[in-house]
Symmetry: C2
Subunit: 80 residues, 2 copies
């Protein structure tokens, strides 16, 4: 089973990387670009075949290691 974890800074947290991208896009001539935010995408191959258990495990991984839950939100997607 494959898990895809999306980690983004919480909406209230300033995102300087996103701001830098927005600035660079505007310097390259792209107009009509509003807010840009950058996050992380982590894919994990898991031996676990039970979706519920896999989600539980990945949630624990997020809480303990992958995400900084003070400033980041995470979202877990599972693929068979």
């Amino acid at each position: 089973m494959k898990a895809i974890v999306k980690i983004m800074l919480r909406p209230a947290v300033l995102d300087p990387q996103g701001k830098a991208i927005a600035h660079a896009l505007s310097a390259l001539g792209f107009s009509g670009v509003g807010e840009v935010r950058q996050g992380k995408l982590i894919t994990l191959e898991l031996d676990e075949t039970d979706a519920e258990k896999a989600r539980e495990t990945v949630k624990e991984m997020c809480e303990k290691l992958l995400a900084n839950t003070v400033i980041e939100d995470y979202e877990i997607e599972l693929e068979a």
Copy 2:
């Protein structure tokens, strides 16, 4: 319109960040974890309302700035 860009290293490219995460997970006692890969997730708010034009613009952004297409693959999702 909101664009979500997923950027991952190409499968053939070594991913030391992913390796480090896999190692840390194992050190934390998580077992049954195979390959781990880390990529970027970029969300952009666009003024453009036409999905086809938006996709074309974001593709150009990826080719010119967001992704290094020599070593990275990108995927574009659009949300109304």
